[in-house]
Symmetry: C2
Subunit: 325 residues, 2 copies
DNA sequence: CTAGGTGCAAATAATTTGCAGAGGC
DNA sequence: GCCTCTGCAAATTATTTGCACCTAG
């Protein structure tokens, strides 16, 4: 249904003809995880017997880049490397100069700082590259750390879930607290309902996380791929703090709306920008979830306002009682 | 006293011999501002008549890289470029794919996020590269923006001064406010004194800034080189906020100490990491300034504590009066 | 005099291209 | 049959190197 083969098929440029050799090169390439040089690929092909000319390898690599199946990367070694673009989120590189392995990561914090720089210059970005050249932990300490050669796709899904779970948890804290603070009975119920939903959803996410771990027991201990520190985790945390400072019912709803909107925007923005993958789906589903919560809160906010107005009409002197401090 | 020639002299590798040709190549290279390819340099040499072989250019470029006079950069064009390392702070690149010009910037915010990523991986950094490939404003809109071909050194000095001035201003706001809030007479005096110092120093910095602008009237309108948003500007701002929340005398001093320490550490850290230059000096002098303020505040804090203790001995019942809310 | 430094031409190394034949549609 | 794909060998591009000669210390 959504195999590499289908993916390649879907991206085959118009007018291009089928060829067993090319298919074989593409398949061989997509079966690898790392960043291959043209020569690496030649070696792989030769090992699998097939006798394919170097020129064809080069031509096919270019063909894959044009079809967005592969991406050319340059680590400054005087030759190009290629990494798969299929189900592979965009990322930055840590490059070990000792063992020549490379590690991928993505930081939304860095990306947004970079956005600011770029914007201030009126620059239009086509591609941003970050490369950290140095020595990896294994080469430096000799300690045989765990095998880092996992697929980035899985790491990405893991970290997407982690971010979602962290957000969900702080959301739960927020609603639990808000439900305690709010005076208005209906408002309280809305917050309780949301707290409940967060709990349910949290369980769902946790289950998904556990399933992912089951596929690869070492996954949990692999180093982080996503660095989304500033963005996702802090959103509800600041809301909780604001609640603690003491707020009226309307304010509590407004804070909730702001948090959900921030959360939604964040997950939507990143979800949209990723390649199709489990991680992308997690981001977009979560964005949706947050959107629904936000809508619910907005509706409740409107209803509360309406009740305040009508109450004010009935008992003008005590109109503001529901939002007393 | 500190000319490029002296600089080159100081870095001449042991055992290397003088040579008119090499000197000429080095001088020609250092007279340029941009990112030259070996061929660019050959063209420049040829234009100035001298007949020097390509091989010598390559050998001399390598010699300059070894001597840390030049730095090799790779923009993925299939050939190397070289930029001067003399009085040139480390930086990242925006690269226009249309006009092939490149722009430099530095962001402490991005650098510290990168530090976190690197640390979490146990990685040892040798060199970090950030390249944003895209289209520059001029190529995109056709509008002939101001000439961007200024020396980065001057931009760096300008921005270092801007950061220092911004910090100084928020420091002034902090001390002015603190002087108003504090009860203890001696503490008040210290804060007033510091506010006064900030004012004087602010005037000095402003004068230096004006002098710099006088050297190049367009400098003020050139795009930013340093992006130090999070770091420098926010330090005292948070202190001012804390003051507003209401604090006792000791707390006010402690906040001041924290701000000055943060400020000192920041300017020291970056000042130390830069190449010798006006910008570096600004950073280090400012770091020193902040250190002195910090020491003053620490001394005052100790003195205040001592007075509180002795007061407590004399009038045990009212001992805590100087720090009443 | 001796270790560099320089020029020239040849060597490398990664990649591209021209051209003739093979093969998919 | 036409147009694309492939192989091979030659070309290209940036850079390096061997070797004979030159020059500073």
């Amino acid at each position: 249904m959504d195999s590499p083969a289908d993916f390649v098929e879907s991206r085959r440029p118009a007018g291009s003809k089928r060829s067993g050799k090319r298919d074989f090169i593409v398949d061989t390439f997509l079966a690898q995880t790392g960043h291959l040089t043209a020569d690496d690929l030649v070696a792989l092909i030769r090992k699998a017997d097939s006798r394919i000319s170097r020129a064809t390898i080069y031509r096919t690599l270019q063909w894959m880049v044009d079809a967005k199946i592969a991406q050319k990367v340059d680590f400054g070694e005087g030759r190009s490397r290629y990494e798969r673009a299929y189900r592979h989120p965009r990322h930055f590189h840590l490059i070990c100069e000792a063992c020549h392995r490379s590690f991928e990561f993505l930081s939304s914090d860095i990306e947004s700082m970079l956005d600011e720089v770029v914007e201030s210059r009126g620059f239009e970005v086509h591609k941003a590259t970050i490369q950290v050249h140095g020595t990896c932990e294994r080469c430096r300490t000799g300690s045989s750390t765990r095998d880092d050669e996992g697929s980035t796709e899985r790491l990405f899904a893991r970290d997407a879930l982690r971010v979602a779970i962290a957000t969900e948890k702080s959301g739960l804290a927020f609603y639990t607290r808000a439900a305690r603070i709010v005076r208005d009975a209906r408002g309280k119920q809305v917050f309780l309902k949301l707290a409940d939903e967060e709990k349910t959803h949290l369980a769902t996410l946790q289950k998904r996380y556990d399933e992912l771990l089951a596929e690869d027991p070492q996954l949990d201990s692999r180093p982080a791929f996503l660095f989304f520190k500033g963005a996702a985790n802090g959103i509800f945390a600041s809301g909780v703090e604001e609640l603690a400072a003491g707020v009226d019912d309307r304010k509590a709803l407004l804070i909730g709306i702001r948090c959900e909107r921030g959360s939604h925007k964040f997950f939507k923005k990143y979800g949209d920008r990723f390649e199709d993958s489990e991680g992308k789906r997690i981001f977009l589903e979560f964005a949706d979830e947050e959107k629904q919560h936000m809508d619910l809160l907005v509706a409740e906010f409107k209803a509360l306002n309406a009740r305040i107005v009508s109450a004010r009409k009935r008992r003008p002197s005590q109109a503001r009682s529901t939002q007393a401090r």
